[in-house]
Symmetry: C2
Subunit: 199 residues, 2 copies
């Protein structure tokens, strides 16, 4: 399993540098210090490696602070905006998930994982009484994943993700009145996260 | 100029079928009944043709009905959802704009065109008193273009755009409370458009 992890990490670095078309399996195994046999054993093809990078894009994310409910979901979306600038596995996985059509892949696994993750946080927010009546955690989680994906894409193309934190904060301003109770909206913190309280 | 238009149309059809990597300039000129000299004269490269398809993605859209303000913007976004299923130039242009990183292009022209178009409709909506106080037409236009791009991407990967009209209608439900005055929200029509009234 250490070989597999090394191959995913090396593939992410190569895909991040050169995209899917510009990356060869030879470059991946060289960077990983592995063999073509191991790559094909674990993934079957370059497409298979790319699917693994997409599906495991969140594997290197740091733990979130211990805030809960809607604030935790806001924190997560802002952390992702930061991490997209420095976390190679996340950035390569997101990029491949967006560009997958260019290399003949149609795989929504990575999107479904984020929908599930966002939905979990929204279910907690709902249990805490933070959501407006009638808001469906699963439905809004899907809306948020779609909107987030396009927002990061536009931010990458326009500014290389430099304005992404600002764009995600702005996105929340347009979603919150439909989603959160008014007294909750006023208490949500954006920008830099508060001190770690959960560990 | 007829040659140029024929090349853009033929390129859109090829890119729609096979994506950027799967399309050759030879296939494009054959389909267009044109020559390699003409293609390079007008576009310089395959990337140049792809940029033209992206930038001119809206050229074949039908005229909207004569409704105005926020309803017109809603109509436009729902029409785009329909057209993405049948309009090859739009579908290829949107796909290339999303996947452009895979072939080394970074060009936000197509996104900026939609931001401008959406902003124009929002300025009319604002003049009609439909927007909530403080809503910035340019800022929300950019948010909407980002959110729309990702929503159509997720819909394409998950359902081949089959659920896109439903997803865009849902997206509006989550944006409207922040954007439109309450009395306006109740009057907006989704789903099938009303009768043509403007022509």
């Amino acid at each position: 399993m250490r070989t597999r992890a090394a191959l995913v990490k090396a593939a992410a670095e190569e895909f991040d540098l050169a995209g899917f078309a510009g990356t060869s399996t030879t470059k991946i195994i060289k960077r990983a210090g592995s063999t073509m046999g191991a790559l094909y054993f674990h993934f079957g093809s370059k497409e298979g490696v790319a699917k693994a990078v997409m599906a495991e894009q969140a594997a290197d994310l740091p733990e979130l602070s211990g805030r809960s409910g809607l604030q935790r979901l806001v924190d997560l979306t802002l952390e992702l905006a930061q991490e997209l600038r420095s976390n190679v596995l996340l950035r390569a996985g997101v990029r491949l998930a967006v560009e997958q059509g260019a290399f003949g892949v149609q795989d929504d696994t990575a999107y479904q994982l984020w929908i599930t993750r966002f939905k979990e946080e929204l279910i907690v927010a709902d249990a805490l009484g933070e959501l407006r009546e009638g808001v469906d955690p699963g439905a809004f989680a899907r809306v948020l994943v779609g909107a987030y994906s396009g927002t990061q894409l536009l931010s990458r193309i326009s500014t290389g993700h430099a304005d992404l934190t600002e764009r995600i904060t702005e996105l929340w301003q347009y979603f919150l009145p439909a989603v959160a109770r008014p007294e909750v909206i006023g208490k949500l913190e954006f920008g830099t996260r508060g001190p770690e309280t959960g560990t």
